[in-house]
Symmetry: none
Amino acid sequence: MARTIGSNGARTAEAIRQAGVKLIYKHGYEAMSLRQLAAEVGLQSGSLYKYFENKQNLLFDIVRDHMEDLLGKAEADLEGVSDPLARLKAFAAFHLRYHMTRMAHVFIANMEIRSLEDEHRAVVVALRRRYEGLLEGILRQGADEGVFQVAEPKVATYAIISMLTGICMWYRPGGRLSQDELVAIYTGLVVDGVTGPGPLAPRLAPEAPELAREIPAAPPRKSRTKARA
Amino acid sequence: MARTIGSNGARTAEAIRQAGVKLIYKHGYEAMSLRQLAAEVGLQSGSLYKYFENKQNLLFDIVRDHMEDLLGKAEADLEGVSDPLARLKAFAAFHLRYHMTRMAHVFIANMEIRSLEDEHRAVVVALRRRYEGLLEGILRQGADEGVFQVAEPKVATYAIISMLTGICMWYRPGGRLSQDELVAIYTGLVVDGVTGPGPLAPRLAPEAPELAREIPAAPPRKSRTKARA
Amino acid sequence: MARTIGSNGARTAEAIRQAGVKLIYKHGYEAMSLRQLAAEVGLQSGSLYKYFENKQNLLFDIVRDHMEDLLGKAEADLEGVSDPLARLKAFAAFHLRYHMTRMAHVFIANMEIRSLEDEHRAVVVALRRRYEGLLEGILRQGADEGVFQVAEPKVATYAIISMLTGICMWYRPGGRLSQDELVAIYTGLVVDGVTGPGPLAPRLAPEAPELAREIPAAPPRKSRTKARA
Amino acid sequence: MARTIGSNGARTAEAIRQAGVKLIYKHGYEAMSLRQLAAEVGLQSGSLYKYFENKQNLLFDIVRDHMEDLLGKAEADLEGVSDPLARLKAFAAFHLRYHMTRMAHVFIANMEIRSLEDEHRAVVVALRRRYEGLLEGILRQGADEGVFQVAEPKVATYAIISMLTGICMWYRPGGRLSQDELVAIYTGLVVDGVTGPGPLAPRLAPEAPELAREIPAAPPRKSRTKARA
DNA sequence: TATGAATGAGCGTTCATTCAT
DNA sequence: TATGAATGAACGCTCATTCAT
């Protein structure tokens, strides 16, 4: 009965987290039941509450931690790279490799934002904006330096991130193309897209203020049980 | 309640369909309850079953009808256009406009495929493949004719569709940029992406797949015309 | 549009009755839905209410009419037969043939008494008692005349009727044994049972007052809709 | 509500089983709602699912367990009895006492077979066949040894079991007649029925099957002993 | 730390029944 | 006579969550 040093509580917590990612990835947050999750880690469902406050917080923890990890690693990868083109390539490569490696986390973060309660979603959206800001900064810098033909960096940012992120919708390890090859292909598309055809391209308003950007959010919502506190 | 004069089943059916789209868009399929839906159209929840067999079929009907509409209109838009570049621009413009106009349907079709039962999902995926096939065909044609630099048309197809579809994640009517402007921006990114830096540049160097295209310069070619203006 | 003389309303009513018997026989009263019934006769379920007041009354009509038919025919068959043994044989033969011929009605009358509301059940039970009274009378007469060895006519009545009625639980037309053969077998069992082994049989109290006899009844019961009136 | 001291799952399970038997007996399986059942044992309806998989399985468990109990006890009661007549009496007495003691279970097992799903019904019917096989074996043995006049043991089995089982339709404890008296009466009917009017009487004359046995006289044989008293 | 019994709310769905047309 | 849209209630069942042990 004596517990191992360090307790296996931490181990259980980690198992729950991983099982949560797996099940939310597979079934979606709404469709995953805590009974399933508990079964996956060999607990009774009530026992899960030693490890999280409620189902919503489990999702939030997973998504927020993922976003912080993504952001932190992206910043680390870009550190020391100053040339806009090199930064763009580094960003694209990082993003692609990350999305091919941690597909489940990424998928969840993209799909389940809608399932987060307002406050939680706000936190996650803020992190995402910071992440998008990295790319937007690169594009602006490149445009300023005349190496990129990007009239609307914000729009281009959304477009490029959508394209790169899309890889996690179809990529599966062990396919015909290696990660390196895929990085090359996607990066080529991105780079060519922003370096453009040259001086003939029509330019649009160079300074672009806020665009409307809203994710359809799940309102208060009839949760089945009144969360306490 | 006495029935409103002139009110009839067909009208109710349409109201249910629209409310369904709205609520699935807002909350997600799993999170939308039929009581919510019924309330939205002023019915008891049981009465909905005059109009669909079950919740799952409501989703399927919405998604399948959307996909058939999308596919049909895309094919119609491409009809008679034979030049690969013109076809690519037409496709991009069509896709973008459609996604800016019918955001909810598009969003649902992308997000809720997971919620479809196997048989239904198979039908929808087949339709999606046909739709992707349109773009893939264009890219292959362009590559064959030497006007596009596309080594992997399938990958490029996924990448481009992801990029274009992403617009429905942030676009809201009435924003600073008009639909025409957005079409121009996105189409530029796509066209430049596939026409590449010029015919001389090596694409996907077989020995060094990663970052194979270091050539930053881009010789002038083709202007960013607004397709299908 | 001009209706045939005699109207086909009567024909529809009869079709509903028959379909009702068939479906209640097959699924049970509780399990049969009025939608099923309506579909069987090619109507909308609401239209059925032109032909009966409600589902309960349909059952009641079927069971009561059946019981009256059974009783009437039994009395007719016994008319003019005065010898107790001949009457017993006639009763048994009638009961068996009736139960082999109208299995569905008989089955319903036995199984669905429980589904009748109190007042309806009272009517049906009274009819059944009259029917049982026919046999009981025969047994008493035979006992009085010394030809039957029956100490408890009421008990013997229940026993014999149970035995004879049981045939509808397994008999199917076209089986190895003909109706005549089965009548012979069952009648033999009955006759031998009541004529007994002779003077050695121990006798019980000759005058038997009321026995407890109660069918477990379905109490008021949460009907789904408040019946009007 | 705080759990009663000492209350536990096993006790609740038993309470549910008993309440289930009671309510199915009273209302029928289809007509019994799980909310009724839950109320009967002081639970919320959803809590019942800790104790059975679903409503159908509750019924199946009840019926199957009953049939196994019935079969096991019948076999135990017949063990060591070898004379056919003694076995017949033992069987009848056992069956009657069992049916007077466990009326609800017996009633359910007879009435609700129809409500069992195919697989479950197959299991129960097989058990019932084994039970009927006990009586059929006795009748065949008696017929072989010349002590019973039974031309069709299968038919006689059905007839006798129907007769004996019928007791649970009207018997109520505390009535005028004791269980012993009723056992004597019914057993007498059965024994006389199968031993017949004497060894000389023709059984089932092949040419004139109907009413084949007109011989009213019954030579003295065997007394109506109370089996297993 | 974990169990397991239980809650209370809500879910998708079916049903008998009503009634304007 | 019949339709068909709608009701309102209940059904079997699942769920997130609580809490005494």
